[in-house]
């Protein structure tokens, strides 16, 4: 009996021991998995509401979020291949030129020996003053930069083309490729339509070259600069005076030096009864039940997302639906291996309005509204360009009202704040008309929102 008990007890201990061992093993495995996962881009798919009203067909918003991990500590960051394309036309003379030079030096100082740096300047003609070379030759490069003189026209297309040519010298190597274009004027030599430069951006995107555009002053063409950045998936900045240039350059380099994924290709697959309506903010390709989106680079610790409007079929109470599956293919720049990350999203249906309301995903709602605001800002620019200023103001005001309404509904202070900012913009335009500056602010903000640009 006692033996039996003892045996039993021993058995329990053994079982407990095994259990503990098992737990430890699972935990270790889990931790290692977590460690592995933390260095990968996390792809999540969310809907604006997890529970949808049953019995009716409706629209929903999908948010595919790519959460880039921070740059892993202790790893060698991938080399950066940076081409700085500087406008040296006559209008840059003075402070702007001095600050642009300071910005160039700032950029150079942040790069290391393993990076490649080149400087192209353009006026009527294009000159490569620093051909692509290791960023380690600091003194020599700085001397050359200091000698830049302003004067002449603005051959922006040629400048970017030459910058791209410098980048291409190291295109085969494993670099993060980036052109930083700085201009304060209208392109007046060569192709100058925003569409043309947009197409150049798209072509460069295919070569994994991103173009970041920095507009200085109020005389540059913000459409062109935003389009070029958008189509190549770079950042865009508006700097009213030259004084901010070094700071912007530092922020930009902060992004570039933190790239954790390149050649990002997002594929969203929808089930047969869910129809894609449109992609909000980004340019995506809808092909039947598949939606494709491309991004050039993801920056460590930053989040980028895509918003898709979909049409959902009517469903019965209690139904579960796998609404979307997303797949992210990208290149890991640290080991140059292709990586895949997946995410799925499910929704359920209910007749209970409270349950539906409570299931709202505030984050998705907020970003959706902010992107709608970005589109409204673009619409306002378009209307104002056509001379329909009252309508432009109306569009902005409607957008502000909508933001405020949604913000109140979900008690989202960020939305309410944003609503006030947009209302201010609308008032200002109503009062003083669409100034060059407000047009630039609208264009730049709109793009920065659509692109989830963090550095501003």
């Amino acid at each position: 009996m006692a033996d039996g008990i003892q045996n039993k007890a021993r058995g329990v201990v053994t079982i407990a021991g095994l259990l503990v061992l098992g737990l430890v093993l699972v935990m270790v495995a889990g931790m290692s998995q977590a460690a592995a996962a933390s260095s990968k881009v996390i792809c999540t798919v969310e809907t604006d509401r997890a529970v949808l009203p049953a019995g009716e067909s409706q629209d929903g918003v999908l948010k595919v979020t790519l959460d880039a991990p921070p740059v892993p500590a202790g790893t060698r960051r991938p080399g950066v291949n940076l081409a700085l394309v500087l406008d040296q036309s006559g209008s840059m003379n003075g402070t702007k030129m001095e600050q642009a030079k300071a910005a160039a030096v700032e950029a150079l100082n942040r790069l290391g020996r393993q990076d490649v740096f080149s400087v192209v300047v353009y006026d009527t003609n294009v000159h490569t003053i620093v051909p692509a070379q290791s960023a380690g030759y600091v003194d020599r490069i700085i001397r050359t930069i200091e000698n830049i003189q302003a004067g002449g026209n603005t051959a922006l297309f040629g400048g970017v083309s030459q910058g791209a040519a410098e980048i291409r010298k190291h295109l085969e190597n494993d670099f993060i490729h980036r052109i930083v274009l700085l201009s304060d004027g209208l392109a007046n030599v060569g192709p100058r339509m925003p569409e043309d430069l947009g197409r150049l951006g798209a072509a460069l995107f295919k070569e994994n070259i991103a173009v970041t555009t920095v507009g200085v002053g109020t005389d540059y063409n913000e459409d062109l600069m935003a389009r070029l950045a958008q189509n190549s998936d770079g950042n865009t900045y508006f700097v009213e005076s030259g004084v901010d240039l070094p700071r912007i350059c530092a922020a930009e380099l902060g992004d570039v030096l933190n790239v954790v994924a390149t050649q990002v290709n997002v594929t969203i697959t929808l089930p047969d009864d869910v129809t894609p309506v449109k992609v909000i903010g980004r340019e995506g390709r809808i092909m039947g039940q598949r939606i494709e989106l491309f991004m050039n680079q993801l920056y460590g610790g930053q989040e980028k997302y895509a918003l898709v409007e979909v049409a959902l079929p009517a469903a019965r109470e209690g139904d579960q639906l796998k609404i979307a599956q997303a797949e992210v293919h990208y290149q890991d720049p640290f080991n140059n291996q292709p990586e895949v990350s997946r995410g799925t999203s499910h929704v359920s249906f209910s007749h209970d309005p409270v349950q539906v309301k409570q299931s709202a995903n505030r984050d998705v709602v907020r970003e959706y509204q902010l992107n709608l605001k970005a589109l409204a800002q673009e619409k306002a620019i378009e209307l104002s360009d056509e001379g329909r200023q009252p309508e432009a103001v109306m569009t902005l005001k409607e957008s502000a009202d909508k933001l405020k309404q949604v913000g109140r509904l979900y008690e989202d202070s960020k939305l309410i704040k944003e609503a006030e900012a947009v209302a201010d913009q609308a008032d200002q335009i109503e009062e003083k008309g669409m100034s060059k500056k407000s047009r630039k602010i609208l264009r730049t903000q709109s793009y920065q929102q659509k692109n989830q640009q963090v550095s501003q």
Partner: protein, 582 residues
């Protein structure tokens, strides 16, 4: 008089001898330079044209290679993998703007009408609607010269050489208006050129189709398999092509010229060279870039008139010739002036010698006559004896003054005159001077007026020099204003200087000559001066002496009759001595 004529004639001859060859030379130089400039301009223009032609050639070769490669790649696609391969190209190839698959009898298979995925694809379908709706076939507008078989490298090179010659031949001067882009604006979607080729062994037709839509060039590369009659291909991303092409443009630092690539509407695609181009400026000449890119031109511009431009040589040489001519002319002018000055000098010296001789002779005659009379012993009257003796004394004094003047003049001219500064009480000096010459003055019936203003007249200067100046002035009055009523001496103190003014109410000096009287050897030419002996040195020497001592001598102007000379005598007693007199 005759000598003057001869001199004038020789100067005239001299100028003729200088001017005629100089003008002839400059004329010849001008002609020569114009010719040389024309030659240089022509060769510069030709060099620029050659460069433009060479760039065009490179562009054509590049585009031709692109065309060849694209068609080859399209043909090489496995028919089973057509769709995914093309889609992959569209996504990843920068040279590909759009891809399409078209079934002539049916419809566009990709991108599907109404189901276009992106705005870009919708525009693509709209752009090429004439083709995809079947209103035009891909090869129906064939040109005679457009048909050429796919060729190997060797064939390609020969063709390129032929084309190079063609390009040279095409290099003609055209005005921009000749190309009338307006015609194309009227008909937006019109096929301009069509190149297509058939490869019989493969049963595949292919082509490069430039297409104008909204006055912009688009290029479609297509392949048609004759077995299935399906047409597929791609729209070339011209922006990429352009972006690659412009990078290979040569850098031109020349500010006076430019090579410019223009598209069909005449707008600049790329520019090499610093010259500012505006639509009003016509290109010197232009050449069509490539038949693969219709209406694209390579234009050359040159501003020949800008400094440092092509005509720089001409202007520079002209300036040099000008400087040369100016040197010759100014040399001539200098020589003439020197000759004239020498002649004047010679004249003045001659008159100086004669007047000085006269001056010397007059007192000498008086002295000699008086001395002879005294010597003859026939003068018994003591009074008369005294008078003769005083004549001898005064005339020899006069002689001494004259000789002093001449000696001083020599010293002053050579800058060797020494001044001995010593304290002088000017008012006492003046009183003594007046007393010494009272007899001479009163003898002419002149009243002596003296006004000495209150002040300190003890100064430091050279007494002898001062006496010479005052004597010259008094002598002048006696010589030329003896007909007047008075001679007036005014003395006053002004800061560091003492002003001694000696006035008369004689006939005065004509206004035009008032400054000339201070020139050496100058004498006012009038009946009055003719009767009086004089060297024309007195005033000149006096002014020179006073200026050497830091002061000045001037004539008070604005008087109708009479004249007043004021001597400004500087006191050298102060420490801040201006150092005038050494």
């Amino acid at each position: 008089m005759a000598a003057g004529m001869t001199q004038k004639r020789s100067i005239f001859l001299f100028w003729v001898l200088i001017l005629v060859p100089a003008l002839f030379m400059s004329g010849a130089a001008y002609r020569l330079l114009s010719h040389e400039q024309d030659r240089i301009s022509r060769s510069a223009r030709e060099a620029l044209m050659e460069r433009a032609a060479a760039i065009s050639e490179t562009i054509h070769m590049t585009v031709d290679t692109v065309k060849h490669n694209l068609i080859q790649s399209l043909m090489a696609i496995d028919p089973g993998m057509l769709n995914p391969t093309l889609l992959d190209w569209e996504k990843t190839n920068p040279l590909v703007r759009n891809v399409f698959i078209f079934e002539p009898k049916e419809a566009l298979l990709y991108p599907e009408k109404g189901m276009a995925a992106t705005p870009e694809q919708q525009q693509f379908i709209a752009r090429f609607d004439a083709l995809f709706s079947g209103r035009m076939t891909f090869d129906h507008l064939e040109r005679d010269g457009g048909r050429e078989p796919p060729r190997g490298m060797a064939a390609g090179r020969t063709a390129a050489n032929v084309r190079q010659r063609d390009a040279r031949r095409q290099l003609v001067t055209l005005s921009r208006a000749d190309r009338s882009p307006a015609a194309r604006i009227g008909a937006p979607a019109q096929m301009e050129t069509l190149e297509s080729a058939t490869s019989p062994e493969q049963g595949v037709t292919s082509g490069w189709l430039p297409w104008f839509s909204e006055n912009r060039l688009h290029v479609l590369v297509w392949v048609q398999s004759q077995a299935t009659s399906q047409v597929y291909g791609l729209e070339v991303e011209l922006v990429t092509l352009l972006s690659r092409l412009v990078v290979d443009f040569p850098a031109m630092e020349d500010a006076g010229s430019a090579i410019v690539l223009t598209d069909g509407s005449g707008s600049v695609i790329h520019q090499s060279g610093q010259l500012k181009i505006s639509p009003e400026i016509r290109p010197l000449s232009q050449v069509a870039v490539s038949r693969l890119l219709p209406h694209w031109h390579m234009a050359i511009y040159m501003d020949e008139d800008r400094p440092g431009g092509a005509r720089g040589f001409f202007y520079l040489s002209l300036i040099l010739v000008g400087i040369f001519m100016a040197a010759i002319l100014s040399g001539g002018i200098l020589l003439t002036r020197m000759t004239l000055a020498n002649m004047k000098d010679a004249r003045q010296k001659t008159s100086f010698v004669s007047s000085v001789s006269h001056e010397l002779k007059t007192p000498l005659t008086s002295i000699r006559m008086s001395a002879e009379l005294l010597l003859s012993g026939r003068v018994s009257d003591e009074k008369k004896k005294d008078r003769y003796l005083s004549v001898i004394v005064s005339e020899s004094e006069r002689l001494t003054r004259l000789i002093n003047n001449v000696l001083d003049f020599g010293k002053l001219e050579q800058g060797r005159k020494q001044y001995r500064l010593a304290p002088v009480v000017v008012d006492r000096f003046l009183t003594e001077l007046i007393e010494a010459h009272r007899v001479r003055i009163t003898a002419l019936g002149l009243k002596i007026l003296t006004r000495i203003e209150p002040g300190d007249f003890r100064i430091r200067t050279d007494r002898d020099a001062l006496e010479q100046v005052a004597l010259n002035l008094v002598d002048n009055v006696l010589k030329y204003a003896g007909t007047g009523d008075f001679i007036k001496f005014v003395l006053k103190r002004q800061d560091r200087a003492v002003l001694l003014t000696i006035c008369d109410d004689g006939p005065g000096i004509p206004k035009a000559l008032q400054e000339k009287v201070f020139d050496k050897f100058f004498r006012v030419d009038s009946s009055l001066t003719a009767t009086q002996p004089g060297s024309g040195l007195g005033l000149s020497i006096s002014r020179r002496i006073l200026r050497d001592l830091g002061g000045d001598l001037y004539l008070e102007t604005g008087k109708e009759t009479g004249c007043c000379f004021t001597a400004r005598i500087i006191d050298h007693d102060t420490d801040n001595d201006s150092g005038g007199g050494r």
